[in-house]
Symmetry: C2
């Protein structure tokens, strides 16, 4: 089924308002989810809406959180998310952080008592727009064994980073610290597809290509012990340091419906202008990008892409051509709306009666 | 040849004083190099002394740099290293940063006009001792191709991070963003050994197991495009943002003897106490460490180690038993002293006439 991104965004907002969110907060979540679909990261797109709504309905996610600063110094913020949706809590944290970074030069922001924040790139984009170098990290329920172990302890803790450029598009990466995002394994399981070897081990510690067995076992870190170390770093910053859950003490978004997740996030913002005039920085970024793009290519490579470039290309294309959702994702999405009497049909390009 | 670490440290200091450094600065470099040997990271140990001295003699490294703050905000510092030795410049930056982080809660520190800073763990340890979460990064001469390319553009830019724990030892990682540190390939080439496939490609872009061909070609990033993205991030922070060289614009420590390297570093320090009482944080770290150590092990794994734990174990052993240097490294080291009339023999355990 094909959707125009604006229509899909409206559908998500309308459903979330029925689930108790303000229109403003619903828009933040919709921008985050549909933004992921636009960038081609469908595993973190609207496919997540049904579980989000299920947790709101279970009362373990707070639709109207009182997000507040609980500790503060010139260069740090600690924020209590009041069990709100991760996107809403994260956006508030980034907004407060942008203000502080502009005032004092830079900031580190810890967040506790939050939930799954969707795609980290969304937060990074907020900072980049203000000429701030931006990091977004989060811990996550345990799905990855410690290096040398077989039982999940840490999450696939996402690591997102971005910087603006001048005439070129920003450089952004947004990576799971597993070989691939667990969301991709979830998508494979939903679509009944196999996964490549090297993505996950089953619960006995054996390599597996069965998506479901991988979900029940442990995903593998990218780059072996190095990626594992970075994942651990993210859990220490997001979880241990903030007072959120860490390691196996984060509740599962798909399993624990009787208690909040207590996910933690960690954001970093650096005001470029405090180290170098912004225009000069952007010229230097452009130079770097041009030098990399014009570098000799490996056999079979048509173009060298910077981190985030493929996602920007996909976004342009999908903004113009629409977002395609598989039958499984579409039906799941439709059913979420049905619970609230929100009919998905008018929002689809194929079924649309709506003016654009 | 076997050395007691204190004697080896004294030898390095004595040689560096002859090469123009103050006793205090010589001690910083010696602590960094011998510290790497103690931790088992011989590729970043005293094997580097000869090239350091060669660059001091060539006049492209300043033995008495005027390291100063050139830009400052509440949460940022930009430091000009005046082409001093990276260890000396980095130590000054960390000392200034510790002061600022204690005062304002946290800091980001950019450094330009510096040189190879040795092992990042050394700087991380300075911050950890003061209960600060600490990062040390540096860019480096281009030895790694962009993802999709074959010609070196970025360095194996090291990424070091550490946090204190309570009754357990700190967690520290200090990784090259290549599959392995280029220093290990240099060591292999010096010792005439092959390298495993997957570490490097030759200058035509073909996989190679020949260490020398790998040095002339391009090393590979850890974890494919993810490790490459992190390496690029480090170059953006250390190079583009600070005004240091970046990409292919950093001069080669082993090749360019007519100009300074213009390496950049990036340090980050976070005062734990601004987010959580330090004792509570350390208890939480201890809990995490104990949970990981007691996690079920994979087949064939005797013990699960935390990042940095093996290095701490090696340090204990080598402090007691001494540091063994291969014949090649020993002779190279001996010749550096000979130029200044410093005889290495009295410093060795086997040849020692010195009181301890």
């Amino acid at each position: 089924m094909l959707f125009h991104s604006t229509d899909l965004n409206h559908y998500v907002v309308d459903v979330l308002r029925k689930a108790g969110l303000s229109a403003e907060d619903g828009k933040v979540v919709a921008d985050n989810l549909v933004g992921a679909n636009l960038r081609g990261v469908d595993s973190h797109g609207v496919t997540r809406l049904s579980i989000y709504v299920k947790r709101l309905q279970a009362g373990v996610v707070n639709p109207r959180p009182n997000v507040q600063v609980v500790e503060e110094s010139d260069a740090t913020l600690l924020i209590d998310g009041d069990d709100g949706m991760g996107q809403v809590v994260g956006k508030k944290a980034i907004d407060l952080g942008i203000e502080k970074a502009k005032q004092n030069g830079a900031v580190y922001i810890g967040v506790k008592r939050s939930t799954h924040f969707g795609t980290g790139a969304y937060f990074v984009q907020q900072g980049i727009e203000k000429d701030l170098i931006t990091y977004a990290m989060s811990n996550a329920p345990s799905t990855m064994a410690p290096w040398g172990g077989i039982q999940p302890y840490i999450g696939t803790n996402p690591y997102a980073f971005g910087v603006p450029a001048g005439k070129h598009r920003p450089i952004i990466f947004d990576m799971a610290t597993s070989v691939v995002a667990r969301g991709k394994i979830i998508t494979a399981a939903q679509e009944g597809k196999d996964i490549p070897e090297g993505w996950a081990i089953d619960k006995e510690g054996n390599p597996t290509t069965n998506a479901q067995a991988g979900l029940e076992g442990s995903v593998l870190p990218f780059g072996g012990p190095k990626g594992y170390s970075i994942s651990l770093m993210i859990d220490i910053l997001s979880g241990v340091l903030t007072g959120a859950g860490f390691g196996s003490h984060i509740n599962n978004i798909y399993g624990d419906f009787d208690k909040p997740q207590n996910v933690g996030h960690f954001f970093q913002l650096i005001d470029i202008s405090r180290l170098m005039p912004v225009e000069q920085f952007k010229q230097r970024m452009d130079q770097m990008i041009e030098e990399i793009k014009s570098s000799p290519k490996a056999a079979g490579v048509e173009e060298i892409f910077l981190p985030g470039e493929i996602e920007y290309n996909t976004e342009e294309k999908r903004k113009a051509e629409g977002i395609f959702l598989s039958k499984e994702v579409y039906e799941d999405l439709m059913q979420v709306g049905e619970q609230y009497g929100v009919d998905i049909n008018p929002y689809t390009t194929t079924g649309s009666a709506r003016e654009r």
